[in-house]
């Protein structure tokens, strides 16, 4: 079974959101990290159906509400030029790729997981809409 890293997960999600035309997302810790944890939960449940297995966890800290994994993937995605943080508050991210860029990113080696990422993007958008972030 192929392993899926936190960067695979987040890049696949960002690519799918880009394809759906999402441009800006609030990442205020107390709300965003639990949203991503909920998406991860779905991934964990469904990964086996797609022949993959996560090699990471997203478990928000019980006191602080944040996830170091989430904060790391955000920083990595920014370094990769996939997202940027809004200055000066760093409370929003802008997705720096458009639908074409999303397709290219998925096409590199995540194409077979597209239905999975579609599902995860839906979970993300639904959970995100329910938070005060939206």
């Amino acid at each position: 079974m192929q392993e899926l890293t936190e960067n695979d997960f987040f890049q696949g999600l960002v690519a799918t959101l880009a394809i759906r035309g999402v441009r800006k997302i609030s990442i205020r810790t107390q709300n965003f990290d639990p949203v991503l944890a909920a998406v991860f939960q779905r991934l964990d449940e469904r990964a086996g159906d797609f022949g993959v297995e996560p090699d990471f966890d997203i478990i928000p800290d019980r006191i602080h509400g944040d996830s170091l994994t989430v904060r790391d993937v955000l920083a990595s995605a920014a370094a990769d030029g996939l997202i940027s943080f809004d200055n000066p508050e760093y409370q929003d991210i802008e997705i720096k790729i458009g639908p074409n860029g999303g397709e290219l990113l998925l096409g590199q080696d995540l194409l077979e997981l597209r239905p999975l990422f579609d599902e995860l993007a839906t979970v993300f958008l639904e959970a995100y809409e329910r938070t005060p972030l939206a």
Binding site: I63, A75, G81, P88, G98, L104, L105, Q108, D109
Partner: protein, 887 residues
């Protein structure tokens, strides 16, 4: 025995750690029982290189003397860093003592005004600090990270994360957790309490220690107490930062004394603490002690982040340190699975000196048996790499890459960028990284064979190159995430206030991440003798598999010489190595080595300075084509050694027809006739370039941009401003469509709606003029003739007549090559473009071989190979000035 992801395997690891603790501790406990250590009866004072004096209590001395702790004396805090920073030889034991010292200072600071942390809790913190690193194996984090290359490790950490409900990434914390939870450790604690007469530890001390080490809450009465061991400004961090910097000779800016002095504790009604802390406190609890940093000391946390960031950049992620760590990982790859009890026990079967002096017998001791034949080979490789470590013949960088490379001419190229993202992502996955190394190793073999250097392979044990090639991606962990969890405390008139640091210093993660992540570079490490072939092999593999281009600016990071690379490439090319390879990685033609070459490139770049190229999506604006000498060189290199020089000469004749030329052309035409023409109108639809050129013409103050209908309803003359005329067919077609006349030439394009009859009549009577900024007199004459035939009062003006490029001499080999390239790019059976169709435009539409470019697009009349992308001779062809495809 490999540990897999099942619960039972998690239980098996726990049992192994318990057995390990039993083996180390039981003889010591028996010895203490038989002969109590009197030297510990009064505690001890240690001289410490960082904190001057560290004081241990008797009970702590007894724990320190146990083999579980003494083992840390033989494990270097920084693993292999001393191979780069010679004085960084301090051990985990020194760090553990320093952590005890600092946790006491933190407690003292919190208890300054009032004893908020009790004696038992203070004792618990000290003992926990002393034991927090007992889970470290050989070479500390180096072996810990090496273990992450094993799937079993990663899955075991997942199980552990679920168990403790926290993200856990460190095997050392898992091991420490299980060792402290072992029956042997509980016996040790019980016994040292009896021997020392110190019964100050809380009941259930081992489980509380476990909680603190993995970052779980110890007690709701002091809900953040555990963070003094594992948290935003924990004693561990404060010691290792200061100690690592001091012992390495690397200065850092963090003022630890000031930070400790700013640590605060306040007893608060539960109702007044932040909601996130309340969630961890039982409903009936009325007060709690909150720990944090005084509001006035917030900057000390920034300093902490800054210090960590600099240390990661200068020390922990130093490329030579990473090269040495790659060697340890390579050793683990060979022998860890041989370890008796499985790979996860390998780090505990050795100490640093044994690993660095590894021999086959030591591998057999690790395995607990004689090695089988196939295992002998792996052992030999591990021993060879260990010997290289011992002799400090370290791996070196052969190739360097990063998402943001300095002076990267392809930074805006979508395929190159997404290729780098994919490379980095895959290189972080051991399985994918292994496949990448296999490909590189296969190319290295080919290169060595073609160069006649196979003898190099004889020096490699087992004839397997893969253990000697290590892809180490950019992978710096961000350093601010834990620290920003701190709380700031202030004393107001209405009592203490608590606020999250991350709200007050929202920018801290941004700058710290940006500093580290934009500097972190990926490397391909190898042994010195393979550095050049590994560079050439990696360049080819990354170009072919990922579309990544290797900018010359990265050669110094890879410690490679461009002249040596050029010479070797020429040899390889003669031997056929680059026959199917992308043109841009082939050897640079000799003509490029002349002193005049850079200035010739620069002239072309300057001519194309205002070229913008097509942009396919607004949000990807920054990914449009950016012209640079490197791009121009790569383009002409596609013509091969035979024609590259002629191609560059040809490019020097490129003409960019931009805003200035167009405005000059229109201005020259209406000079003296400004009362005659008041309107400038786009000829064509909104999708056509005339919308842009008309906008440009609007720079002339006397001209007003109008729609054709509005302009026709006025009485004055109407001007059309166009960039280029080739055959004139397109302009004629537009005029015909406006009048509803059947097309004289079928251009296979959508036609504009005819004008209404009233406007059609006006169109035929008004004074019209069309100005072409550049083009052919043949085309201008054709438009003129057609206008007359259509009954239009149209004056045609061509400002600058362009001739086909002189660089393409009829029948010359270079012209024939351009035709061949154009033909290969154009023929596309899927859309019905056969050879006959292509033959009419191999040198551009009409085969006129024009060298004209607009800032916003390139006309089809321009030489085809300049704008058409595709494949030539089976290899990708990258145009210099791509055209926006018709939709």
């Amino acid at each position: 025995m490999a540990v897999d992801l099942t619960q039972s395997e998690r239980a098996a690891f726990r049992e192994q750690m318990e057995a390990w603790s039993e083996r180390l501790l039981r003889p010591y406990i028996r010895r203490l029982k038989a002969q109590p250590d009197k030297s510990c009866s009064k505690g001890k004072e240690f001289n410490d290189a960082v904190w001057a004096t560290v004081v241990l209590r008797p009970i702590e001395c007894l724990i320190l003397d146990s083999p579980l702790l003494q083992r840390l004396r033989h494990i270097r805090q920084l693993g292999v860093v001393h191979l780069v920073y010679p004085s960084a030889t301090h051990s985990r034991l020194e760090h553990s003592l320093g952590t005890v010292h600092l946790v006491s200072r933190l407690v003292d600071a919190i208890n300054t005004d009032e004893k908020l942390i009790s004696g038992p809790l203070s004792s618990l913190l000290r003992v926990t600090a002393l034991c927090h690193d007992i889970g470290h194996g050989v070479m500390s984090h180096v072996s810990e990270n090496a273990l992450l290359n094993f799937r079993a490790t990663r899955q075991l950490l997942r199980q552990f994360s679920k168990e403790v409900e926290r993200e856990q990434r460190k095997v050392s914390e898992l091991a420490a957790h299980d060792m402290i939870g072992s029956p042997a450790f509980a016996d040790l604690l019980a016994h040292v309490q009896r021997v020392s007469g110190d019964h100050g530890l809380p009941a259930e001390a081992p489980s509380l220690m476990q909680r603190a080490i993995v970052g779980q809450q110890v007690t709701p009465s002091v809900p953040l107490l555990h963070e003094l061991i594992s948290g935003p400004f924990d004693a561990d961090k404060l010691d290792y930062m200061t100690r690592d910097a001091r012992m390495s000779g690397v200065p850092v800016v963090t003022d630890i004394a000031r930070l400790v002095q700013k640590v605060r504790g306040r007893q608060l009604p539960t109702a007044k603490v932040p909601e996130e802390i309340q969630q961890s406190i039982p409903a009936q609890q009325e007060t709690c002690v909150v720990t944090g940093i005084a509001l006035s000391g917030g900057r000390t946390l920034d300093e902490l982040v800054f210090g960590q960031t600099l240390l990661f950049d200068k020390l922990y992620r130093h490329q030579k340190v990473r090269a040495a760590e790659a060697m340890v990982a390579a050793i683990f790859d060979q022998i860890a699975e041989l370890a008796s009890g499985g790979e996860l026990l390998a780090p505990y079967a050795l100490v640093d000196a044994e690993l660095i002096h590894l021999d086959t017998r030591a591998v057999e001791r690790l395995a607990g048996r004689a090695l089988k034949d196939d295992e002998q080979g792996r052992a030999e490789v591990a021993v060879d790499i260990a010997r290289r470590l011992q002799e400090r013949r370290l791996f070196r960088s052969a190739y360097a890459f990063a998402q943001n490379m300095p002076l990267d001419p392809y930074r805006s190229d979508e395929r190159h960028r997404s290729g780098l993202v994919a490379l980095t992502r895959r290189a972080r996955k051991p399985h994918d990284r292994g496949r990448l190394v296999d490909h590189i190793a296969a190319e290295v073999r080919t290169i060595l064979s073609l160069l006649g250097d196979e003898a190099l392979l004889q020096a490699i044990p087992g004839d397997d190159l893969t253990p000697y090639i290590w892809v180490d991606p950019p992978n710096a962990r961000t350093q601010s995430n834990e620290t920003v969890r701190a709380f700031l405390l202030s004393d107001g008139a209405d009592g203490p206030h608590v606020m999250p640091f991350r709200d007050e210093y929202a920018e801290t993660p941004g700058w710290s991440n940006a500093y580290l992540l934009t500097r972190d570079t990926g490397y391909v490490f190898t042994i010195d003798e393979l550095a050049l072939p590994v560079y050439l092999a990696t360049e080819k593999v990354l170009r072919v598999q990922f579309g990544i281009r290797s900018p010359a600016s990265m050669l110094p990071y890879a410690k490679q010489s461009s002249s040596v690379i050029a010479e070797t490439k020429r040899k390889l090319s003669s031997a056929g190595y680059y026959e199917d390879a992308p043109y841009d990685i082939r050897p640079v033609p000799p003509a490029f080595s002349t002193a005049a070459f850079p200035s010739r490139l620069e002239r072309v770049r300057a001519a194309l300075e205002h070229y913008e190229g097509p942009v396919y999506e607004a949000q990807e604006r920054k990914r449009s084509t950016v012209m640079s000498p490197a791009r121009i060189q790569a383009f002409v290199q596609q013509f091969g050694t035979e024609h590259a020089d002629e191609a560059l000469t040809m490019l020097q004749g490129l003409r960019v027809v931009g805003r200035e030329r167009l405005v000059d052309a229109v201005g020259a035409f209406i000079d003296g006739r400004r009362d005659e023409f008041k309107s400038v109108v786009p000829l064509g639809e909104a999708k056509d370039s005339s919308a842009v050129t008309t906008y440009y013409a609007g720079d002339i103050a006397e001209l007003t941009i109008r729609s054709l209908g509005d302009a026709l309803r006025r009485g004055d003359g109407i001007l059309f401003a166009e960039d280029f005329v080739g055959t004139g067919n397109q302009t004629i077609s537009l005029l015909e469509s406006l009048l509803g006349v059947p097309p004289s030439t079928d251009l296979h394009e959508e036609r504009e709606e005819p004008l209404p009859d009233d406007l059609k009549a006006l169109f035929k009577t008004r004074r019209l003029a069309i100005v072409f900024a550049a083009g052919t007199s043949v085309g201008a004459s054709a438009v003129d003739a057609a206008a007359k035939q259509l009954g239009l009062n149209l004056e045609v003006k061509l400002q600058e007549e362009l001739a086909p490029t002189a660089a393409l001499v009829e029948g010359s080999p270079f012209r024939l090559r351009c035709e061949e390239i154009g033909r290969q790019l154009l023929v596309d059976q899927h859309v019905g473009h056969d050879e006959a169709w292509a033959d009419e435009r191999t040198l551009g539409y009409g085969n006129k071989a024009f060298l004209v470019v607009f800032p916003y697009n390139t006309p089809t009349q321009t030489l085809t190979c300049l704008w058409k992308e595709g494949a030539v001779d089976g290899v990708e062809w990258v145009p210099l000035v791509p055209r926006r495809p018709k939709r």
